[in-house]
């Protein structure tokens, strides 16, 4: 447990020190939101309809940048080998990094929300619930994302490999998060948002333990 806290502290410190990078990723996400609105055209009603979907697509694209970046320190100077020789437990290393990535993605999502509000003018009556969906959805991206980033960081062509592996896997996360966010932004007469949140919870319940279990085999030399 103390190893996990130490790993989390290390990863948070690293992302804090390279915060310009994280800010650039948020700007990338905001640019994506802007470009996506061009794909629809200046139709306020249609944009409001699609706001939830665009938020998650922008978040998904920027998450691959953030996730790929998260293993740079470990690969550049063979830091991972050093950590394993300490010896640090791979499970704590995984959860430390996954939690740090989760926090970072969560903050990115929060950073994109004002841009979304300005560009798409959605109804924000249920902002807190939307933040809850952001919390669950980014958790679903970060667990498998951290595992795959750990693999991709060690290979050439990592820029291609990470989205190639991650995107098909997180289809349920994307579906559920988009559906829940759209319901919260557009009105939810049948009260369905809760069941989508449950699906996100189930995905997290499966992938957080599974990825932690498998991470050890991925980084072992």
């Amino acid at each position: 447990m103390s190893q996990l806290v130490a790993a989390l502290r290390k990863d948070l410190l690293l992302s804090w020190r390279s915060r310009a990078q994280a800010a650039a990723v948020v700007v990338f996400g905001a640019t994506a939101l802007l470009l996506l609105s061009f794909a629809v055209g200046p139709n306020a009603a249609a944009l409001r309809q699609l706001a939830g979907g665009f938020l998650w697509v922008a978040l998904l694209f920027s998450s691959t940048l953030a996730l790929a970046e998260s293993f740079r320190a470990e690969t550049e100077q063979k830091g991972m080998e050093g950590l394993l020789l300490l010896p640090a437990n791979p499970v704590s290393l995984f959860y430390g990094k996954a939690l740090a990535n989760w926090l970072q993605l969560m903050l990115m999502g929060m950073g994109l929300l004002p841009v979304l509000i300005v560009l798409y003018d959605p109804d924000l009556g249920r902002l807190w619930e939307l933040c809850g969906i952001l919390l669950l959805g980014t958790a679903g991206l970060s667990a498998p994302g951290t595992l795959y980033a750990g693999m991709a960081a060690q290979v050439r062509a990592q820029q291609v490999l990470l989205p190639l592996l991650l995107f098909p896997l997180v289809v349920p996360v994307l579906l559920a998060a988009v559906k829940a966010s759209s319901l919260l932004l557009l009105g939810d007469p049948m009260g369905q948002a809760g069941s989508w949140a449950l699906l996100l919870l189930a995905f997290n319940g499966i992938y957080w333990p599974l990825c932690g279990l498998l991470f050890g085999t991925v980084i072992e030399e």
Partner: protein
């Protein structure tokens, strides 16, 4: 992690594979002949429905082969034997091929029946997602040169992708059912069952033949990658320019 067992490709594998493929060709010829000329046309869809005699067996076999891939992935992680890696490679490739074929056949059927090439039906969408997920695993295998890393990582990625399949299916079903429900009556008359069964075995034997052949190839390649380099070849590799002088 230590893997000291070299793969030992079975020299009779190509023969076994040819036998399986030959049987499958005969079965598919008989099944398709009955399906095309003897089975009655379907009441509503007419002759278009006859694609079912290859489509449904392809679907069954594709799912079966991908289950085999999942089992091979777990077997490799637990036993660390190279033969499971070779079988994993074979089963993912054959599985992806069958799943792609499944999507193509489905589109050919959907255009005259539903009027569109593609529909966001849960099974169709899940198959497409499945295809991309396992294509990602194949891409991963291409990018990793170290055989041990390649084997371990693709086993991990296969397990993760396989765990996703039920979640994808449930979520797409749920997502789509809020808009429309696609009714697909699966009641099949007895005169249609015979060609369906024969073709199911045909495709099963075909896939088995491909699996045997492909895993044999993978084992031979692995044996080449893992074998220690011959001394003279290693020298020639280090000093290519001095090769002629010595």
């Amino acid at each position: 992690m230590s893997v000291d067992l070299l793969p030992r490709p079975n020299p009779r594998a190509p023969l076994i594979a040819s036998g399986l493929i030959a049987v499958s060709v005969v079965l598919l010829a008989i099944g398709s002949y009955i399906g095309l000329f003897h089975a009655p046309p379907e009441h509503f869809m007419g002759d278009v429905q006859r694609i079912m005699y290859v489509h449904v067996p392809t679907a069954w076999t594709a799912m079966l082969v991908l289950v085999v891939a999942f089992v091979c992935a777990i077997a490799f992680l637990f036993s660390q034997r190279w033969k499971w890696d070779a079988w994993l490679e074979a089963s993912i490739e054959v599985g992806v091929l069958l799943a792609l074929l499944l999507c193509v056949q489905g589109s050919i059927w959907a255009k005259p029946t539903w009027g569109v090439w593609w529909d966001w039906d849960p099974r169709l969408t899940s198959t497409a997602v499945l295809c991309f997920a396992f294509l990602g695993v194949l891409a991963l295998r291409r990018f990793v040169e170290d055989p041990l890393k390649r084997a371990t990582w693709s086993a991990v990625a296969t397990i993760i992708a396989a765990a996703d399949v039920p979640i994808v299916y449930m979520s797409v079903k749920w997502w789509n059912s809020l808009h429309q429900t696609q009714s697909t009556p699966q009641t099949v008359a007895s005169s249609m069952v015979t060609p369906l069964r024969i073709n199911a075995f045909g495709i099963l034997f075909l896939a088995a033949g491909f699996l045997v052949l492909r895993s044999h190839l993978a084992q031979r390649r692995l044996a080449g990658e893992l074998a220690p380099p011959l001394p003279e070849r290693a020298e020639a590799h280090v000093q290519p320019t001095l090769g002629g002088a010595s």
